[in-house]
């Protein structure tokens, strides 16, 4: 399973939307429920599922799914 596929499973679970399909360009404007509060929960689940840690700077600078994939893969 690729990082993007695993992320898609996480996003579907967090946002309770089984039809959600991610690509590198997906950002918060594409998912209505992805506000700053949901971002915190999402990133916390991502940390737990991938066994990685994000810095405060990384958390605030990740603008789309592609950036998230890149950040995770650097840490694995």
């Amino acid at each position: 399973m690729t990082t993007l596929e695993k992320l898609q499973e996480i996003f579907r679970d967090v946002f309770a939307d089984e039809a959600l399909v991610l690509n590198d360009a997906t950002d918060s404007s594409d998912i209505e429920a992805w506000d700053s509060l949901a971002h915190i929960r999402l990133m916390s689940v991502v940390e737990q599922e991938f066994g990685v840690k994000f810095s405060f700077k990384e958390l605030s600078e990740m603008k789309n799914v592609g950036a998230l994939v890149e950040c995770i893969e650097k840490k694995l």
């Binding site: 915190i40 940390e47 405060f56």
Partner: protein
């Protein structure tokens, strides 16, 4: 860790304050504006218990504004005291699975003591405040 206060989100500090006063609370620090977080804050006491009323200004997409819209008037975090906040944050992040969502900064409403906010998916939002041993006496 000793509980310092319970954070309570409210739309109106003055209305919430009146209700809590009827429940036996008194004002410890009256309402003040925290510019760095764009919120009004007021501390109330009832015996050993302390409540922090927090009224966010409704502007921008901050987590606290989003939370206020979602839960309305309700408790939303517990703040714990620690003696060395940098050490406690490090331990909670690296050993206990917390994520820092607001880095160390002085809190004007608590005599500029250092505070930090952390999040864990299992228990939500936690605040830490640094209270040195000599300040407890």
């Amino acid at each position: 860790m000793k509980v310092h206060h319970v954070g309570y989100l409210v739309k109106s500090i003055s209305k919430a304050k009146q209700k809590f006063q009827k429940l036996g609370y008194y004002v410890e620090h009256d309402a003040m504006y925290d510019e760095s977080r764009n919120i009004d804050i007021c501390f109330l006491r009832n015996g050993n218990e302390r409540i922090e009323l927090v009224a966010p200004k409704n502007s921008g997409d901050s987590p606290i504004v989003a939370l206020a819209k979602k839960i309305g008037n309700a408790p939303y975090h517990i703040c714990y005291e620690c003696e060395d906040i940098a050490k406690s944050v490090d331990q909670m992040v690296n050993e206990d699975g917390y994520m820092v969502i607001q880095e160390l900064q002085p809190a004007p409403a608590i005599q500029n003591q250092l505070v930090a906010f952390l999040y864990n998916v299992d228990i939500g939002l936690v605040e830490l405040v640094e209270i040195k041993m000599e300040e407890k006496k």
